[in-house]
């Protein structure tokens, strides 16, 4: 029997996020014959235009409007979806900060299985769904079997599926009346924008980016000297900001800045998807990492499997000599 799949749509300022269109493709990868319904929670005119924006990719769109859903508060959305979803539902969501907030608890309340951060779908085998995940920061992958008997909530990593352009004219069904009484013990107050720093890494064509492999705060100067020699700006991965060695505004990644340099030189960065998610525009990537199996070598154009603390000063010296 063909499955029916529900997709939670993330949207902002009246437009669906890219993930909405990737998830439409992921749903078909589970079962090409599946009926697919988009679930759009929100309020007012932003909700209306968000529904419009996905009606081109989903045959059916459920619009769920309520003032309590004006901001995507996972606690409120979960409460609503429990009133709306049928028993045994298969639910897809993006593995973003909303999906991570929503998915695990939703699966428990639905009595279904949960699989987070899925990067590949191999399809159905009887009542099992075969999926691919990664572990250890992307260093190894795993095949997963998920029993669909009682339904499932599956969070998909962004960029794992390519959005497709085969437009449909979806029907928007107003389900707001079924949303029920939304009681959330967590109340959204405001969003505080990330701090602005003294340098804008998004403006630089060439970035020298440091990761945990720099090992010590004092060694940041090694990266800075290379950057000075080639006319680049220093950016970094998250652990460098967590350690307070550089400002948050220098962090590249999903919870940092999105950059589009021409050249990106990664020093001691493993290449987690959260880091690479901030690197757009297909730059020329040079990775220097002492682990020859580091995932960043899959994404890089040029790889150098060396200790950066020894290699980079030599590189900098040679460049200075030339000048």
């Amino acid at each position: 029997m063909a499955q029916h799949i529900f997709v939670c749509i993330a949207h902002k300022n009246g437009a669906a996020e890219d993930s909405a269109f990737e998830l439409a493709v992921a749903a078909k990868a589970i079962d090409s014959g599946a009926g697919v319904t988009a679930l759009v929670c929100g309020d007012g005119s932003e909700l209306d235009s968000a529904c419009q924006s996905v009606a081109g990719a989903y045959a059916e769109v459920w619009k769920i409007g309520n003032p309590a859903l004006a901001y995507p508060n996972a606690e409120a959305i979960r409460c609503t979806l429990l009133n709306i979803l049928p028993k045994g539902a298969i639910v897809l969501a993006a593995h973003d900060t909303l999906g991570m907030d929503l998915g695990p608890g939703l699966s428990i309340k639905l009595g279904s299985a949960f699989v987070p951060d899925v990067v590949g779908i191999e399809g159905l085998d009887g009542n099992d769904l075969k999926l691919i995940r990664q572990e250890f920061g992307g260093q190894v992958s795993t095949h997963i079997r998920c029993d669909l008997t009682d339904g499932a909530v599956i969070n998909i990593r962004s960029g794992s599926f390519q959005a497709q352009d085969n437009p449909v004219s979806g029907t928007i069904v107003d389900k707001s009346k079924d949303a029920g009484d939304i009681q959330a013990k967590r109340r959204f107050m405001e969003v505080v924008a990330a701090e602005v720093g003294d340098v804008d890494i998004t403006k630089s064509d060439v970035l020298v980016s440091v990761g945990r492999g720099i090992e010590d705060q004092e060694n940041i100067s090694i990266a800075q000297e290379l950057a000075d020699a080639i006319g680049a700006v220093v950016s970094c991965s998250r652990p460098i900001v967590d350690a307070k060695w550089l400002e948050k505004s220098r962090q590249v990644g999903t919870s940092g800045k999105t950059v589009k340099p021409k050249v990106y030189i990664a020093l001691g960065i493993s290449g987690s998807f959260q880091h690479m998610g901030g690197l757009k525009g297909n730059p020329f990537i040079v990775a220097i990492n002492k682990n020859p199996k580091a995932p960043i070598f899959q994404a890089a154009d040029i790889g150098i499997a060396q200790n950066l603390l020894e290699f980079v000063p030599e590189l900098t010296d040679k460049i200075k000599e030339m000048k």
Binding site: A113, E135, V140, S141, T142, C146, R187, D242, L315, M322
Partner: protein, 263 residues
């Protein structure tokens, strides 16, 4: 405030090359360096700071084997008051829901105002906190990078969302939070600190003590099963520069010049 922090012993990925074993059934664990999961360490630090401000106790709990005791001791050396090890062969093969079920059983034996987990561990799942909250019918916030205690009934939390923006919420106590890195600067734990807690008794609770059996935990109850580990063939990947350091430097400079990487 009574605070419980769930922690996990994991291979340290910054220290180790992770390799799949010959059968593909697991990673090679022989030579791995283990430590406490990075996110959990931030959670414990936060718990200690809250306790030091408003009073109460910090308990650290882990589901694991005998060796997992070492991470409990490490976190007690940091300042946690108590450790509890949840260990039973029956727990092997549990999926995320199984692990949350074990933790829930322990939590229901006590009375906690605040329950914390790390946002994520070595399997990148980030699921146990949200599942626990739903099982306990408590409110939940993930990826928390700021906590402000408002009263004994309510706290204010910041969640780090896309772009590093911070979403501020009020959340009723008791609640479950998953903690994001960077929320604080975890204190250093030296050998001497660990020695001080070396002889503190850490109770071990087994499936029977927690009223659990194979219908709710372990491989038999898991709806989500790991079939194998593998390393995907990822197309071409990077062109690796080989040779002497001098040769690599020269080649790299040439490439960077061609791509506009040297101004």
């Amino acid at each position: 405030m009574e605070i419980l922090v769930c922690v996990k012993r994991v291979p340290d990925t910054a220290e180790n090359e992770i390799v799949v074993n010959s059968k593909g059934s697991d990673i090679e664990r022989g030579d791995l360096v283990y430590s406490v999961n990075e996110w959990d360490n931030y959670a414990v630090e936060e718990a200690i700071q809250i306790r030091d401000n408003v009073g109460g106790t910090v308990t650290v709990v882990t589901v694991g084997d005998d060796e997992s005791e070492e991470v409990l001791r490490r976190e007690m050396a940091m300042g946690a008051d108590k450790g509890i090890l949840l260990s039973d062969d029956l727990f092997n093969g549990s999926d995320g829901k199984g692990i949350a079920t074990i933790l829930k059983a322990e939590i229901q034996k006590g009375k906690y105002d605040l329950i914390m987990t790390g946002a994520l561990a070595d399997d990148g799942a980030g699921q146990v906190g949200g599942m626990l909250a739903a099982m306990l019918d408590l409110p939940y916030a993930s990826l928390v990078n700021k906590i402000k205690i408002v009263s004994d009934k309510m706290i204010r939390v910041g969640r780090e969302i896309e772009g590093g923006n911070q979403e501020i919420n009020e959340i009723d106590l008791p609640c479950v939070l998953s903690i994001q890195t960077g929320i604080n600067e975890p204190r250093y734990v030296g050998i001497r600190g660990i020695r001080k807690v070396a002889s503190v008794e850490i109770p071990v609770h087994k499936a029977g003590d927690l009223g659990l059996d194979g219908t709710v935990v372990g491989a038999s109850a898991a709806k989500v099963k790991k079939v194998d580990y593998f390393v995907p063939s990822m197309g071409e990947g990077a062109e690796m520069l080989e040779g002497s350091t001098d040769e690599i430097v020269d080649k790299l400079i040439e490439l960077l010049k061609a791509k506009g990487g040297i101004k």
